[in-house]
Symmetry: D2
Subunit: 280 residues, 4 copies
């Protein structure tokens, strides 16, 4: 792979650099790289329309036993090469961007295992339940693409906000109940070719709450949301289980992680419920 | 005040230091110092019992036009001198600690205006409404003591967590309503001798919510809290106004700031209401 | 202004709503509204090219003494109306977006004082000092547009990251010195028509550090950055003053606030320096 | 274990509760409980002196397939029972507190796997390198005690702040170099009886940096710290490896995780290096 080091050549870095020396402690490093890089990304949907994102990117590679350091600038250069606005056709997905960057990096830096995390916020169009007003709802999402040799994997994570209405309270207080904002983080780690899309994961989360939430709600919409909450009382345990059941139906092979958090309105602390499973 | 610089003497720093030179830009600085210092504090109550706190401390002074820098280490030394466990009797209040530190600093560093912020978490004993279980509830608090010449002032800030139940929703949905966690930040800036205590400010906040919240709640307690919410439906506007009315009754002269935030369970964003007033 | 309430009409909200009742505590509220709204924004530059942003938006209005609550959904509707992708020509600046939203809101909701905060991240093209590699550097920015009656004002805030190299240390240790990451927050509040642009404020900040920082640096670039640091040793006081001097040259009328923070590499806490001035 | 449920009895909760019903989705839950509880803790050292802490506590248990929910209040009650100031002798360590709480919970709630996380800040006495001034340095620490059946394990995590000085920069720029604040998170998961103490882990971290940092530094101390940085240039890779080598010498069986982060002063992003190993 060493033929592919033109940047070093161009910049007169041919001489042995500090990074290439022997380290004092000869121990392999699992993950070394950059974190917290802010980058502008562009994706092109199947219909040809483009979407723009500001993303937080981490990029790590492994480092062998007998080399002091990696060349960090090549990591950032690989990201810039792939995302640069003027020199490529936009990819269709964050996964493809991740694969592109890890592959580009293989031309610039020797490594065996690499990993890129791309975190951003999606805005998805929803319509309010009664007046059908359009509203763009925000969801934090992240994709991690990892490669070991030439085997790629991905982990897709979404975080959605909704509500829980306490079923115990609804029984005890006879029709009254405490409600609160709640969150689900749903994460699936699987092979790179599995067909898992953010929109579907977000929909699964939203259906798992007592009710989804909306950025705009007129009086009649608000009433409908409240009625829906009272029809679907759920413990944070129910939220995690309902999310699990739907996610399981995606029929992927890999690891599933669900974390539901209820920002209890009767407590100052949160209630949490987690399910982790591996499907082979 | 320059006679009081023994630390410099003891440490062979008599020669002119970089800080004492003329700056290139001859402009006074309003506030220069350290922020994010973690310190262990001890207070002694009137009954003689001691309380321990981990606090976040900021300490700033002003800097005159023709001096390049302050001697930052003297700020930290002044804090250490006053809080050190083994060399003093504990103060009765955070304000007294603040006054002590600003006064100690006057012996070590020339300044006209100084300001110390001490932020920590109080745990106050509460009892649940029905089963009367004891429960220690957390409240973030902060005191800022400032001095200009020899006039001291203080600003006391508390943050309390409670709940709001939407009155509009309760009307529209006929007995059902959305509830959510809410917070109030209440802040009073006044003369140093005004009798304002954290416990009273926290109580004012807690009475302003639809209901206070508790760390432990047995079934009957939870039912009582839910009943209280439904008896006291409040917009975030009502919360701020009810807090204002009580705070006004404290009869201080100075500045009052109230910020109520409702973590809406029907939205992903928050609702906020603020009242600011100056009483002369 | 009440003629302009078509949304209420369309949605059968003509009857008196809870919000329109008399409050128990008859006290005006300074600021009530929504915070933490995530919205997608589009701006069109003078050359016609479009830029896309994900922004955090807060929108507040005042509330008179004898009205219980505001109609929060109208705030969000006003934002959506102005930013919606399909129904308008993009504005040229965040200020114009803010003015547009506050003006739209005046058609939908009675208020006297209003305020919108739009916070986002800009990526600006830079070139590394020696190899002239292009690199997109991130800067957090925010604009607050406020209106009182029909007088608009704006506050523009930028946050830039750079470095400080301690001049005292450089003297004492004879050519060696501690360096650290540093930040400047520069904020100017002024009339709406004053010509203040983010790019210029960011440039002022970057010139105030010991050196600016870059996302990519090849070996020779890194050497140049380090040399520049050692040529420009600066206390956090110097950073604030150098920033002040340049900002003053913008010749605006209004309020200037500078906060420089040095993430000290010899301490666990930060060093801070602040300058505030009003220019009439 | 069901004989031990007196709290339910005392509070008239004998009737079947909502939590005890069958869930719709019959799936076990790995972890359900409370997070973000603020509690005041007291430990008694071997010399008999007491230390006080404000801690953030999470407490989780598993939930079987055919039960709708756990009884969350019993989790908080178990914590309160063990930490309450007036009714027990202080434990010697956070681990013992964790064991105590998980054991108390077994009397109140049926579960198989449980886990408690206790996070707080330690202040440790240090002395500055030349003037030997005492200074209390802060370190974030956390212990997780888990139990499966009756087998207890623990994970101890410390986070320490220090500095890195870039060796590559030092070579290229001939005696000059960029320095920055850096952090290490060192975590060891092992059997409950292994003799791992926070103070030792913190010391390992501090020896792994280019230099440790101090809250107070007089001129001569600062010079000594800077000299030490320049004597110990380290990539973030070196920091992780040096930390690894020392941690390995503790000779425990279990899992080791090291994450070193350098807040680069020449970049806006961070450099990160991680080592994970399992020792059987």
């Amino acid at each position: 792979m060493e033929e592919h080091r033109p940047p070093a050549l161009q910049e007169n870095e041919l001489r042995e650099q500090t990074q290439d020396r022997l380290p004092k402690v000869k121990e392999a490093i699992d993950r070394v790289g950059v974190s917290g890089l802010k980058v502008a990304l562009k994706l092109r949907g199947k219909s040809g329309d483009e979407s723009h994102f500001l993303a937080d990117v981490d990029l790590f590679i492994d480092l062998e036993t007998d080399r002091k350091g990696i060349h960090m600038s090549r990591l950032v250069e690989s990201i810039n090469e792939i995302i640069c606005k003027d020199c490529h056709d936009p990819k269709e997905s964050f996964e493809q961007l991740g694969i592109g960057i890890l592959t580009e990096l293989q031309k610039r830096h020797n490594y065996r295992r690499g990993e890129i995390n791309i975190a951003t916020t999606l805005l998805l169009r929803r319509f309010t339940p009664v007046t059908a007003k359009p509203t763009d709802e925000p969801y934090d999402v992240a994709v991690r693409v990892s490669v070991d040799g030439n085997v790629f994997r991905k982990r897709m994570t979404v975080r959605a906000i909704g509500s829980t209405l306490c079923p115990h309270s609804l029984e005890t207080t006879k029709g009254k109940a405490h409600v609160q904002r709640a969150e689900i983080e749903l994460s699936i780690e699987t092979g790179i070719t599995e067909n898992i899309v953010f929109e579907e994961l977000i929909e699964i989360c939203e259906k798992s709450f007592s009710s989804p939430t909306y950025t705009v709600l007129k009086t009649m919409d608000e009433a409908a949301v409240v009625e829906e909450m009272f029809r679907n009382p759920k413990f944070v345990e129910d939220v995690a289980r309902d999310c699990f059941k739907q996610a399981r139906n995606l029929n992927f092979r890999g690891r599933l992680h669900i974390r539901a958090v209820s920002l209890e309105s009767i407590h100052k602390h949160n209630a949490v419920s987690e399910i982790e499973r591996v499907f082979e």
